[in-house]
């Protein structure tokens, strides 16, 4: 490829898109922490943060400022580079997922057709899996590098939890892929938009399995064993302070948003607004409506995550493993079998 034939405009377009997506994700994450506190407050019948700004709206900014201003402490006995790498890796891995999510239909600007997806790779969903599996390294490395027994135990818990639940998640996904016949997220969403029902109708069991596994992957209650504050003293981020701690906490919320986006795209039609014909409005407006729809779906999922977190207790380690290996995986296999049988019967 010569320099002349290289599409510089595409590079710039993608760069801008990446920056916008990352910044928006971070902003949304910032307010997800606020949302979490408010949801918790509502469920616990108390006001929640309401001092900084109107309705406490600047609270996340104050939290962020506090975390940045805090003193950095790296334990003397810690493995310094890994200690710094841990939170960075956790954050990077969780942000990278956003690359394959189709945010909406194409946008038409300056005579160009701009796809609102950073990369429509044909292995789409496998890429998500690869990245999500990476995110556990952040926890493992951080937990190990802290040179703290509680952190180490938490890292071990996180690793085994991630492995166990990724299998069930993958199996649930295989059943979905059998019905869609493609790995590309863009095609999966487009199929749901064009006439079909949402995939959740074909894969209800698969969705439930996927949702539970997503909860486990995000380390949310009832699967928040790695950071079980009661026995492990907040686990892997016990020795962290300042923004490195902030990165870990942030990564959890980014993960939550990303898995909500993935779930919305794969099972709930992505940017598809039901009972609405996109061809009746201008393409750009349709794209905007699409983004809004996807965001609303994400918010609903995130709320569901929070609702569950503030309602039920957490599993014990052995119960978690039992659930993963003896319930989720057989169920996912059964779901696969069922899907296969139904596809065969239709033929």
């Amino acid at each position: 490829m010569t320099l002349h034939s290289f599409d510089w405009a595409l590079v710039i377009e993608k760069l801008i898109l990446i920056i916008i997506i990352v910044l928006t994700t971070l902003l949304i994450t910032l307010y997800t922490t606020f949302g979490e506190r408010k949801v918790a407050a509502i469920l616990q019948d108390r006001p929640g943060p309401n001092r900084v700004g109107p309705f406490g709206l600047f609270q996340p900014l104050a939290d962020g400022l506090k975390l940045i201003m805090k003193e950095e402490i790296i334990p003397t006995a810690a493995s310094k580079w890994l200690f710094i790498l841990g939170p960075g890796l956790a954050m990077t891995a969780s942000l990278m997922t956003s690359a394959v999510i189709p945010w909406s239909t194409d946008l038409h600007l300056f005579g160009r057709t701009i796809a609102l997806q950073v990369a429509d790779v044909n292995i789409g969903i496998l890429y998500v899996f690869a990245v999500v599996s990476m995110s556990v390294y952040g926890i493992m490395i951080g937990g190990w590098a802290s040179n703290n027994k509680f952190s180490l135990m938490s890292a071990l818990r996180a690793a085994s939890q991630a492995i166990s639940y990724e299998i069930a998640m993958g199996l649930a996904l295989i059943a979905l892929l059998m019905t869609t016949g493609t790995l590309s997220l863009k095609t999966i969403v487009a199929d749901q938009v064009s006439g079909h029902w949402w995939n959740v109708v074909y894969q209800p069991l698969g969705f439930i399995i996927f949702f539970i596994c997503a909860m486990a992957e995000c380390n949310r209650t009832p699967f928040d064993l790695p950071e079980a504050e009661n026995e492990l003293n907040f686990g892997y981020h016990q020795e962290y302070s300042s923004m490195k701690l902030g990165f870990y906490l942030f990564a959890e919320y980014v993960n939550m948003i990303m898995s909500s986006a993935i779930m919305a795209s794969m099972y709930f039609g992505g940017y598809d607004l039901p009972f609405f014909d996109e061809s009746t409005v201008a393409p750009n407006i349709a794209a905007m409506i699409g983004i809004g729809t996807l965001l609303i779906k994400i918010v609903l999922f995130v709320f569901l995550f929070m609702w569950i977190r503030w309602t039920i207790p957490r599993f014990r380690y052995d119960q978690l493993m039992n659930l993963g290996w003896k319930t989720m995986i057989p169920l996912a296999l059964f779901n696969m079998l069922l899907t296969g049988a139904l596809i065969l019967a239709k033929l």
Partner: protein
Amino acid sequence: MEQHSHIALPKGSIEKTTTTLNIGPTHPATHGVFQNIMEVDGERVVSTEQTVGYIHRAFEKLAERRPLYQITPITDRLNYCSSPINNMGWHITCERFLKVELPKRVDYLRVIIMELARISDHLICNSIVGVDTGAYTGFLYVMQYRELIYEIYEEVCGSRLTTNIGRIGGFERNFTNTAFTKLEKFLNEYPKVLREFENLFARNRIFMERTQGTGGISAQRAMNYGFTGPNLRAAGVDYDVRVQQPYSSYQDFDFKVPVGTTGDNYDRFLVRNAEMYESISIIKQAYQKVQSFKGAEAEVYHADVPAYYLPKKEDVYTKMEALIWHFKIIMGEIDLPKGQIYSAVEGGNGELGFYLVSDGGRTPFRLHFRRPCFIYYQAFEELIKGGMLSDAVVTMSSLNLIAGELDA
């Protein structure tokens, strides 16, 4: 060349396959300051060594230099989740020792306060069990109803946590109408919330799996250890000091003593929950009885014990006799009769006993607190051995180990 010196490791520490884990003294699972040196094999607890004494304040020794009325604030700091019971227990001990007969109304008022304290104690314990299994909401949700209880204390005695409530011979002042209004408000609002709280946990599958079959103890072992209170009743023994050796006219009340079967964390949770309902019923009965006093009887709030009950301030300023008593009481110039007594009340946590020995001086010769927590903590290793680390934490909160009572 200078040798870089390492911390000397104890012999055999490299070869060993288990990990030593310090749960406490500063660990969120130890609600207070005490320590478990746990030996864990992965997540499984191999053994544990319980350490006490981190907040030992030498209460029993302090009590040897104090006249009776000055010992009440010390008892506040035993089980601070239900300090009114401790106060009352101490007053009742003194009254039994001094052979003071109390008017019925005072008894009933005390019952109200003690049962409120029992509710607040059980409420904290049960919601903390929830927190330690990972469900935070129950804890914060019920906090505001404990607040209602604290407001009643505040109205009666002026303070909230370490109450120093009542005096030897009764209360320092009569209950105001506001106190009764607040009590009514609590009685109206609380049962609904308790039902909600119960629904959140009692039939929650995750909670049941976390608590059933963990931290269990047989009735025989529990009695051998000297368990009392909810922890013994959860094992199936219906021992309750309120029934076996009634004090403060508990014989006038109609209530059930709930018992469990397995003595595990789940049964302890259920027993405490059931006891809260019983406490509500007792408070209602006591309130009715208190309301039935009319005229001059309704103004009675203390017995006539001039040597221990402070005279009214107006009298102190105007009457010689009252001034003398006031001075003698405050300075602790009153000699106790010779003798000894053991008297116990059903504390929030179990049998809270006071063993008082007097050689005829102005202060006790020896005072021993029978603190139920201290007894439960001995059994801790037996309860958690072989279980998971998370179970140990839940068991710790389910036994309601409160550092103040543990160490005294």
